[in-house]
Symmetry: C2
Subunit: 310 residues, 2 copies
């Protein structure tokens, strides 16, 4: 139940931290709304499979994202952070931060956009206005000792604006990181990026002082590029990768598959290359098969299908 | 309709030759048996989309592979080679070579196995006996001026034997190439390989004098690794890649997806990296959508689903 020929592959980091986004980015983009108790069990099973960082939910208003309307129930069900685990949640504003702090969270993520159109659609603000929105959130979170991640969406292409210039992404990333965030996650929200583009973006960020030690990558598999792009980023020094158990977020029967990189496919690649992740692949596959059952459809992850079908 | 941010990516070849295997490896592994006339139209459409090398069929006995029992009809329907196109077919023995030559073929492929179990199952011979089987085929084909490719199957893992040692693959490859074949195709028949393993195999082949200028790679996407492995091989100097239009050979609804790397997903990655392929992606996607209709199910290629659904 593991990839053959385990060995150290040249150019890859010895250890990779998987930032599991299945319960949030994954379930947020599934048609089926999953009950809070199921989410709690999902997160507990993911933690038991060795995933130490799991994005649990989102404190956006429920009218924006009904799938995440049960943030309080999910976090109350999980109980407090502990044993070295990190359970960040998305926080758009100070009201969201209030709720996160009341529930004892110690890690949050803000989510900016590199493009005007998506900033308007997702945040109801312009790109330049988003910084003012996030500034008081990050300032208070840092003062309260929280760990803060900054997402940038649409880092490669935008469905309305087309290809997104590297300089535009770097400007957005710099503004958000200047707020004091600990980690930057580069989101290929529509999955159109390719390896050379990944390299050039990382290079441009490095030139502005945002090194790969502070950068995570977040690829969607819409065009089948997620794992290839991730491996390219790892060779460039990135060591934090976003992925969703079972490739959640994209239904294999939908016309357009838009799921996240499947955590299992990533783990297969990393373990085969001798890179440590701390993940028990068998337990993870079992969890994704169980979750697919809750959603009433098979997992889009190739590894899940191959191992669960074997 | 193309990947954004076209640019030259460091470490990739300027040009990649796609060796299209959809009509043979793809259709051979589909449940639906496609009529010869449909195959002819498929191949013609692939050629019109810019694919210059297409593996058309196989001259194994029809009782072994019923899906390829119409080799004569397909090749007669296509007419003679021409205009710089290459239409190789699999040839297992001298009887197969007779048939290929009668139909005017100028390129063939033999197909060895790196493992004993698969050699017995696929060729009814041991690994060492396979060389004697292929030797007269290659000798006569070369004497007749044909181009000859040697496949090696099970280069990374074998479903019965597990991980396959690199040395065992190199030994098999060397014996087949010593017959005088022009090109070696490394097959990850069950799709379990990972990037470090690819690198080590290419390195070991190079050390025996089989350089990347004579090596093609052939990945199946069973574990989601096909494109990442292909890109790793390209960075190591390989410039011929096997792929199947639409990811043929694996049904997205089957428990275990075992299709080839989808040509469209490969083209997306290469064009995004500024690598020339000569392929018209739009025409290729249209062809795969048409073929999926013939097979009565959607294409497993992410790019096909994303572009055709848009």
């Amino acid at each position: 139940m593991r990839s053959p020929q385990v060995e150290a592959a040249s150019g890859l980091p010895e250890q990779v931290t998987i930032y599991e986004v299945g319960p949030r980015d994954g379930l947020q983009n599934e048609k089926t709304v999953v009950p809070a108790a199921t989410k709690v069990e999902f997160i507990r099973r993911l933690e038991a499979a060795g995933l130490g960082t799991i994005e649990t939910t989102s404190f956006v208003p429920a009218r924006w994202v009904p799938q995440m309307g049960d943030a309080e129930d999910v976090l109350a069900g999980l109980g407090p952070d502990g044993r070295g685990r990190r359970r960040p949640a998305l926080v758009p504003n100070e009201r969201g931060l209030d709720r996160a702090e009341e529930l004892g969270l110690t890690a949050i993520a803000i989510f900016g956009s590199a493009t005007e159109t998506f900033a308007q659609k997702n945040l109801n603000r312009s790109v330049s206005e988003q910084y003012a929105m996030f500034e008081p959130v990050v300032e208070r979170a840092l003062a309260d000792g929280m760990w803060v991640r900054a997402y940038v969406s649409m880092c490669f292409g935008d469905p309305w604006e087309g290809p997104v210039p590297v300089g535009q992404v770097v400007d957005t990333a710099e503004r958000l990181m200047d707020l004091g965030c600990h980690e930057l996650s580069l989101g290929d929200t529509i999955g159109v990026g390719t390896t050379g583009h990944v390299h050039r973006l990382l290079e441009a960020l490095g030139a502005r002082g945002i090194g790969t030690d502070r950068v995570a990558v977040h690829f969607h598999d819409t065009y089948g590029q997620a794992l290839a792009n991730t491996m390219a980023a790892l060779r460039d020094g990135v060591s934090v990768v976003d992925a969703a158990a079972g490739g959640l977020g994209g239904c294999p029967y939908a016309k357009s598959a838009t799921g996240n990189l499947a955590t299992e496919d990533l783990v297969w690649a990393l373990h085969g290359a001798g890179v440590e992740t701390g993940v028990d692949l068998e337990a993870l596959v079992e969890t994704s098969v169980w979750m697919a059952g809750q959603l009433g459809r098979p997992s889009p992850s190739n590894v899940v299908r191959a191992l669960a079908g074997a």
